[in-house]
Amino acid sequence: MNEMLLEISKLDFCVNDVCLFLDTHPCDQEAMRYYQEACCRLQRLKQAFIQRGGALTNRQCANLNQYINEPFPWDGGENTCGAMKNDCNFQ
């Protein structure tokens, strides 16, 4: 799951960056193709993430309690790894 979220972050970065480029280069066909491909892959990956029980937002997740109770990213949530990971378990 951790690696999957890192892949989502990488792909979302690609989409974000090419969106900025397309804001000022709306006619660049190559950038538009890149955007469509990256968007498509990002959507597929997010769908797979949700199907495996991942909770990225509270608008689209299989289990809302998981979104609520999993640590936030600054507290060693999915997108960080290592020492901070279990450092905030208050149960």
């Binding site: 970065f13 974000n16 450092d87």
Partner: protein, 205 residues
């Protein structure tokens, strides 16, 4: 409207407290060249920007800056987590600790609280976009200065990423300024402000 995703734009994993670094990093939260000011600047300016694609650019970059606010806050949070009172005192973070404990509060590296007086929104596309270009360069310089002072590799990886984003945003704003100028009278860009077209009633005249 915004939608929060429960992840950081770039992974952050600080394994040990480092208070001197925390003290300088927080300037990019509440300082004059920081991410909070950047987010507010672009998200305020976009309303009167007269071109939809430049409104999109200001919205997209403003939104990314909000993610950077979260990243800088995470850096400070993780760099101070578990710090002992003796270290807090010796590092000079004691003044911050007195007022905020280890809560996240937007100040610059000298402890001066965030102020919207550090940015402008003047309702003129040329002036606003020129300010945005300068803002990105000033943020880049602040990141350069943090990299000069910090020997913390876990922090520097993140700062290097953020510094790179300033350069990309600067480039996009420069293109936006060119786009705006192309839609104005090239013999006098300042003859007419496309963001201000008064519609006076007869009684005003």
């Amino acid at each position: 409207m915004w939608c929060y995703e429960k992840r950081l734009q770039f992974p952050i994993n600080i394994t040990e407290p480092d208070l001197p670094t925390a003290k300088i990093v927080i300037s990019q939260l509440g300082g004059p060249n920081g991410e909070l000011g950047a987010a507010l600047r672009y998200l305020c300016q976009r309303f009167t920007m007269p071109f939809p694609n430049i409104q999109a650019l200001l919205t997209d970059i403003g939104t990314e800056e909000l993610a950077h606010v979260e990243m800088i806050s995470t850096l400070f949070y993780q760099l101070t987590k578990g710090a002992c009172p003796k270290d807090i005192k010796e590092s000079g973070l004691d003044a911050y600790f007195t007022d905020h404990t280890l809560g996240i509060y937007p100040v610059n590296s000298a402890g001066v609280p965030f102020s919207s007086a550090t940015f402008q929104s003047v309702g003129d596309p040329i002036a606003d976009l020129t300010e945005d270009m300068a803002a990105e360069q000033k943020a880049r310089v602040t990141y350069d200065n943090i990299l000069t002072l910090s020997q913390n590799e876990e922090v520097n990886k993140v700062i290097t990423f953020l510094r790179q984003r300033e350069i990309v945003h600067y480039q996009r704003f420069a293109e936006a300024l060119e786009y705006v100028k192309c839609h104005l009278d090239s013999s006098n860009y300042y003859a007419f402000n496309p963001a201000f077209q008064p519609q006076c009633k007869k009684t005003c005249q």
